[in-house]
């Protein structure tokens, strides 16, 4: 151990010296002072870099991980389903092709002969709700103004909202633009479709409909049909009339 080596190692790693070096340091007050000075310098550096860490960083990390992991798992599941069906598809390709062409031929025949038969209105509305089930899970309130901005394009206006509106969007009803909105009620989320009556989407079928989960009511209006769908057991007709009545048409 010489003076140079001692200084070099002390400067580099003052808190990590081996026994030999410490003994060497202790053998002279100058070296001891040198060692202390460099320990203090390391401490000073550490203090200078000791910035505050953002609040809740740990909680955010844990939350972020669990959210991203969930999204990834869902994604993987979906992908594996796709791969699965693809490989099956490959295997049965010829049979599938035969079956498909048969189905197409038959349906083309039926389609042409039945002249574009509409689904019964209720069925169509329910299918739409199931197709966009996610719309029922929203919780952020949407303002009357936002709803009216969309409704204005159909020529309508609402004076007030039927409840806390959590979803509003344009939707396609057999090629016709309609409004799809969801509001919260005492009976759970209620879906409303407002569709201009010109396209006669909801013309066929009865005004009341239901399945195992939802019940619905159609108010047929002059300018638009209002379809309301809520959990089974809700007073859908009351809500439906109320909304149909609250819309002013320009």
């Amino acid at each position: 151990m010489d003076e140079l080596e001692f200084r070099r190692r002390t400067i580099a790693q003052p808190n990590e010296l081996d026994k030999e070096l410490l003994e060497f340091a202790n053998s002279s007050p100058d070296r001891q002072a040198f060692l202390n000075e460099h320990k203090a310098f390391d401490k000073q550096l550490n203090d200078a870099l000791d910035i505050a860490v953002p609040d809740n960083l740990a909680e955010r990390i844990i939350l972020n991980t669990s959210l991203k992991e969930k999204a990834r798992k869902d994604d993987l599941e979906q992908k594996s389903n796709v791969v699965d069906s693809r490989s099956r598809f490959k295997f049965y390709r010829i049979y599938l092709a035969l079956a498909a062409s048969f189905v197409i031929a038959v349906s083309a025949f039926m389609f042409s002969s039945e002249q574009n038969l509409n689904h019964a209105a209720g069925e169509h509305a329910l299918a739409h709700v199931y197709h966009e089930l996610n719309a029922l899970n929203k919780t952020q309130p949407i303002s009357l103004q936002t709803v009216n901005e969309k409704l204005a394009l159909l020529g309508g206006q609402l004076n007030d909202l039927p409840g806390k509106v959590t979803y509003v969007n344009f939707c396609d009803f057999q090629g016709e633009k309609g409004i799809h909105l969801v509001f919260a009620s005492d009976f759970g989320p209620i879906t409303v479709f407002i569709v201009p009556s010109d396209n006669k989407v909801f013309e066929i079928g009865s005004g009341e409909f239901s399945d195992a989960r939802y019940a619905g009511h159609i108010s047929r209006g002059k300018q638009a049909d209002t379809v309301l769908i809520a959990n089974l057991g809700s007073p859908v007709d009351v809500y439906s009339e109320r909304i149909a009545g609250a819309i002013r048409w320009l």
């Binding site: 400067i11 580099a12 790693q13 550096l45 200078a48 910035i51 860490v53 953002p54 740990a58 990390i61």
Partner: protein, 185 residues
């Protein structure tokens, strides 16, 4: 059927154990890692992202971490890799923060603050090859061996770089000191 339930319980138990282990890891290391990331890239937002990404990756390969003592170098290796990926991707999402805007929120007196700001600036001016071992040592409290393994360097090289980093700092700081004294006269 009962056997099935039992193995399900076991899976759930393992998941809970993994989660617990993970949360402990986050609580012990997130602050140091954030500081390290902060001084590595001089930007609080990037530092935040880097630490988030590091822990996300840590979760995904948590099973490969067998020895708890190896956790710190393991996390640092992940973080450095994430930081490197940042440069591989297009790097325009972030703007560089001016060094003058770096803020130290923990100091108390004005003098301390002054001195700490000067130190911070000088460290951020160091070349990466000196800055990184220095941050690992000073911020993360890594030993020479750990630094050598994280940076994939030999131990002597690490020591040389630490030595030079500190010499450069000392020199720069004493220069700044003289300037300050000169200014106050």
């Amino acid at each position: 059927m009962f056997g099935n339930k039992k193995s399900n319980d076991q899976v759930l138990l393992n998941m809970a154990e993994k989660q617990q282990r993970y949360e402990a890891l986050v609580h012990v290391y997130h602050k140091e890692l954030y500081r390290f990331a902060y001084w590595l890239c001089n930007d609080p937002n990037i530092a935040d992202d880097l630490v988030q990404e590091t822990f996300l990756r840590a979760w995904r390969s948590l099973d490969s971490l067998i020895d708890q003592k190896a956790a710190k170098p393991w996390l640092l290796t992940i973080l450095r890799r994430e930081n490197a990926r940042r440069f591989e991707r297009k790097q325009f999402d972030y703007s560089d923060v001016d060094n003058d805007t770096l803020v130290d929120q923990t100091s108390h007196s004005l003098d301390d603050e002054m001195e700490q700001t000067v130190i911070q600036r000088q460290i951020s001016l160091l070349a990466d090859e000196y800055k990184e071992p220095l941050l690992l040592q000073v911020v993360m409290g890594c030993s020479g061996d750990e630094i050598a393994s994280i940076l994939d360097l030999n131990k002597n090289t690490v020591m040389t770089r630490l030595f030079r980093a500190k010499n450069q700092l000392k020199e720069a700081l004493s220069r700044d000191d003289e300037q300050l004294k000169g200014a106050s006269k």
